[in-house]
Symmetry: none
């Protein structure tokens, strides 16, 4: 017993993943409200009862599925930030990462954007995720602020604005079926947030 993972745990983790991936596909196909446990089980190739050996409830399936994908997305975002560089470049990498993630995982989009209903618990988690996302951007912004690249501005607010803009762009790409090149979207957003719109800066 040199290892602390038993075979059971490995199988268990394997099953969990299969079910989560199935859930993602089913939600991607049918929408969150129409994704039944039965269909998730079918998609995962297991019996309905089996699902309940690995998850306490439908809500937990959805929760965990979302959480792991969000963690994945945030991990990648963090990578993009940690690599450092000029804020314009970092932001570009971050946006590329995020837009790319949804282009690759279109099924995830319906889960990610169906985040208003649900229990108090899931609401809390959803907020926590948004805060983590913002916190990462804040890190990026504070570095840029410290190096004098960007002017002083409440970084959390900036982060929220960026997060919202990105979210909306992603939503349009998928739900609105727009087909701009990802690089275009990225460059556009970066320039917008870095340089602003007005020819002449400042109030009057």
């Amino acid at each position: 017993m040199s290892q602390t993972v038993t075979k059971g745990q490995v199988v268990g983790e394997f099953r969990c993943r299969a079910i989560r991936e199935a859930a993602m596909r089913v939600v991607g196909r049918k929408g969150l409200a129409n994704a039944t446990v039965q269909e998730i089980a079918n998609e995962a190739g297991v019996a309905k009862g089996t699902v309940y050996l690995y998850f306490r409830s439908r809500e937990e399936i959805i929760e965990k599925t979302t959480q792991i994908a969000v963690d994945d997305l945030l991990d990648r975002t963090l990578e993009a930030i940690k690599a450092g560089g000029l804020v314009r470049d970092v932001l570009e990498r971050v946006l590329t990462t995020q837009i790319g993630y949804f282009d690759e995982h279109q099924d995830f989009f319906r889960l990610y954007f169906a985040m208003v209903d649900g229990s108090e618990e899931s609401r809390r988690r959803r907020l926590a995720n948004r805060r983590r996302h913002v916190a990462q951007l804040v890190t990026m912004l504070e570095a840029a602020s410290k190096s004098g690249e960007i002017r002083a501005a409440d970084p959390e607010r900036v982060a929220i604005a960026i997060a919202g803009a990105v979210r909306e762009v992603i939503f349009r790409r998928i739900d609105g079926k727009s087909t701009h090149a990802p690089a275009d979207e990225v460059r556009f957003l970066t320039d917008l947030f870095c340089d602003g719109l007005c020819v002449r800066r400042g109030r009057r």
Copy 2:
């Protein structure tokens, strides 16, 4: 015959409004998916069957309730744009309007943000509303572009970014229970989009 509205129509409109307002409150409390017709009826102080005298289905209740509020919001936004002036001022008025609207109608936010599931029809409507919103911002931006106030930039994309940022700010205010002064939020966003973040504009 001084008026062409019968008493029945007045009562009917009154009931419709009561039910829509009840629906708004219930959705605000429970979320869209958990808002049952029974509870909406209770909230409106009528019997379940009565609801069906005024709406064909649960979906129609939700649809109409959303649509009227969205129309109201977009009407106000349009006012803010039509008044004209410098883009910075116009944008400020628009944001004040929108943030103010959700501060006043907190229940509406869950309806507004519950935007992924539902019938094909309701998805179409949702997209159409988003497009109208964007179109209004585009109007504003094109005027500013023509007057040379802002640099050339795909106005639709700018509009989408602004819409997303505002959306997220509103979301935080309500779901995240943040309590910044609306005027602060407005001023902040306006400056961000007008001036951008970077001390030195332009790539390299």
Copy 3:
């Protein structure tokens, strides 16, 4: 006050008839199970509540509507019998009357043939009508028996058989959309019941 009918009674009878006729048409169109009081009221040109001034319940509307049509049919049948003559001729007149009645009142057919469900009370009435119908045929048969035209045979049973055959023919004409000439059907049935099928009469 030379008359004992008040204006109220006349109006009442008028309304009752209008509602019954409306019920007949609606049932003819939609079937008994799908005929709602609302639609009957609409068809009659009165408000739903008004219907309940003249009938105690939906069931009573159906009952009375059926009953009056059945009475009408049986009255005509009785005429055909009372006129007398050879049994073959009488039977021909009876069948002509009945088949003709349903050709004229196609809406009635759905009411007449939807006679299995309903309360105990309506079941009783239905049976009573069938018995009256049979009794009339029995009268005809007994006369023919007395005059030696037909051989002795339990007349009630004969009557039931004839009634059933006619019923089925009518059903086919309307539900099966067959379009034989009524006179053909009549002649055919008359000959069948009078002469039988076999070339050689009697058992072995």
Copy 4:
């Protein structure tokens, strides 16, 4: 692997049968329109939801229940015809079969006679069944016609008349609670259709 039926299929078939039999009893008791899925489930000793594991809808329960009984009845009728012999004997066997079937399955009669409302689909099926029934009788009659036993007469019309007469007799036996011996009814009808009523055959 001596058999290709799994246990699941056996249990499934068992449940289906139990539900169909329950449906038959409930319809026999309450009538078709008043037979609710809940009561059928109770009668079958299962939960409401279970019914929907085996049937897609209430309509399907009714349809299948009816269809299987009708098929059974028509199968038996066909046997009676295929055995062959003099038409009088064949007819006697057919009538014995049919009257006997309803004496044994009294509950079925309400299903069999509830034949006017329902979906277009069920109406089609009902008509098809009637046609099959008639077609069988036609077979019998054509054989007798060919052998010269019976005089030429549109066999379909004869079949319809016979079917209607039998139907009515059965109806009386069950709904009218008459208690003649089945053999009596059979002999009576046979003689009636074979020999006719009139002492002297033919028109004038």
